[in-house]
Amino acid sequence: MNLERLRQLQPCLWTLPRTLGEERGEVLLYGSAPLLVSMDDKVLEQIANVASLPGLVGAAMTMPDAHWGYGFPIGGIAAFDAEQGGVISAGGVGFDISCGIRCLRSNLDLEDAVEYFPQLGNALFRAIPAGVGEEGEIKLNPEQLDQVMHGGAHWAVQQGYGTAADLDYVEEQGRVAGAIPDNVSELAKKRQRGEMGTLGSGNHYLEVQVVDRIFDPAVALAFGLHEGQILISIHCGSRGLGHQIGTDYLVLLAKAASRLGIHLPDRELACAPVNSPEGQQYMGAMNAAINCALANRQILTHLARSVFTEVYPQAELETLFDVSHNTCKAETHQIDGESRLLYVHRKGATRAFGPGHPMLPERYRQVGQPVVIGGSMGTGSYILVGDSENPAFASSSHGAGRAMSRHQALARWKGRALVDELAQQGILIHTRSMRGVAEEAPGAYKDVDLVAEATEEAGLARRVAFLRPKVCVKG
């Protein structure tokens, strides 16, 4: 990205000044100069497009891990006021609706667990359906799928996947209101029939990690974290159901925007006013997909627990937190001293409530919400905590962010060699797709340390702990 087009407001905050006659809202970019330089200019183009959508409140923003996406940039945030003609955009949520990370803390330490990592990796790989073409053992009939779409993680717990204690630590307590299964197409429902409890492909993973470094001991204590502790992160979303809902509504909302005279600089920004019939229809379907994703991660939690207790009979895994990073959520925010209901799109960005937020479970209410920046399989991930002064509608970075295309990564790395190289570093990779490993090479991602530092510097969230990968089941 050419920084000459930007004006620096703070060390990790930049704006894109409007050109003469340009009619759009404000654009803010969070991140350090090195991170922004590494971004494609398309990020700027895409976030400027977002800033031109009707009913935008405040600025359209990008997070420090932003990269070029489709419609919205990945790491893009925009909030809209329905009472001012604000829109909901299928392109602002993406295909993988409610993709997110469930993080589990264990009562195991590295020194006790390391000896059995090979068995653990093999057992996880057998138990967790991962990769393209893989199906789960759970097959749902249409009635059961409707229950998933209404019940989210609650449905999964009722079926015996996990415990009620998990639900306190899942965003929205495991279930969003407003899901309307009737707004979900038959094809979407058929696509999901064999995909409950599957990880998916691409950048999805189940990773066993060790707490390598604590940055904030007080918050780490509240989160139940200590150095040397084993954690598990599960990164996946709403699977075929969400993909098909994204597909169905992309074209429907693109046509609605055209009919309603909403100018779309990129048709992928397909949107309709929140209060229009199409907007409400999408909202009901999207919420159904969110619940499906929450149920899916709950089932995968259960599968991971079963494997852990098989390999380590003394193992106990508790949910640290579960938060999505591809959503549009109705939230109340203070704007110029006034409480307003906004529709906050986070596409590749994590919600990050600060201390005192009423939606946080009691355990975290004093310190703030756990936030996960998922890194590559070779470097590591961060746990951060939400900041009450967060300037971005309580949003934060969600990952390391790609630094190069999949195309470039495939040309540079070979999957088999990477798996061997990581094994020498003590990181065991299990995958059905060597192509996937090459595309997801650690070197294809930005420096996760720089992303976490910039996230903290920008006041989005504060670092609590750094996690190193040990065993990874790649989608």
Partner: protein, 163 residues
């Protein structure tokens, strides 16, 4: 022996994405790819609009698995109506992806016929087998960088797909 087979498969896949802007996916076909940070740009080209759609579909399913290993055993027919050529491309690719996931199949051959706004299409492939090399799941075809156009005698269809 197994390592050799893995290397061979991997090399074939690297060859189809060797870093250049446009390059061939399957020998003899005119599918290709273009750069995108997070996802993958696909291109289909042909002498007719319909052929461009067919090769665009090969580009999509070439991401999922090497197509030369997929037997065209089972036929799936899909019909839809769409007057806008660009929306027709995205609609068709997404119907294929949806049908493939619903049936647990992967497709390797495609036929497209059009009568005004009515698109009658056929996809041939088979159910996933354990020996098939796993690539990357395509979640959907997007409207980003979407274009369907005729340049000289050649039709070209392209868009970004989310993986």
């Amino acid at each position: 022996m197994e390592k050799q087979r893995g290397n061979s498969g991997e090399a074939a896949w690297v060859r189809l994405s060797d870093g250049s802007k446009d390059n061939l996916c399957v020998p003899g076909q005119t599918s290709s790819y273009f750069e995108h940070d997070a996802d993958i740009g696909i291109i289909g080209r042909g002498d007719t609009l319909e052929q461009a759609f067919e090769t665009a579909a090969q580009a999509v399913f070439g991401i999922v698995t090497p197509l030369d290993k997929v037997q065209p055993q089972t036929s799936v027919k899909i019909e839809f109506e769409e007057s806008d050529h660009e929306l027709a491309l995205v609609t068709w690719l997404n119907l294929l992806l949806g049908k493939a996931r619903e049936l647990g199949m992967v497709f390797s051959r495609f036929h497209v016929q059009r009568r005004e706004n009515l698109w009658s299409t056929e996809a041939l492939g088979e159910k996933w087998r354990e020996v098939m090399e796993r690539g990357v799941e395509v979640k959907g075809a997007t409207l980003t960088m979407l274009s369907v156009k005729q340049t000289g005698a050649m039709w070209e269809a392209r868009c970004i797909v989310d993986v």
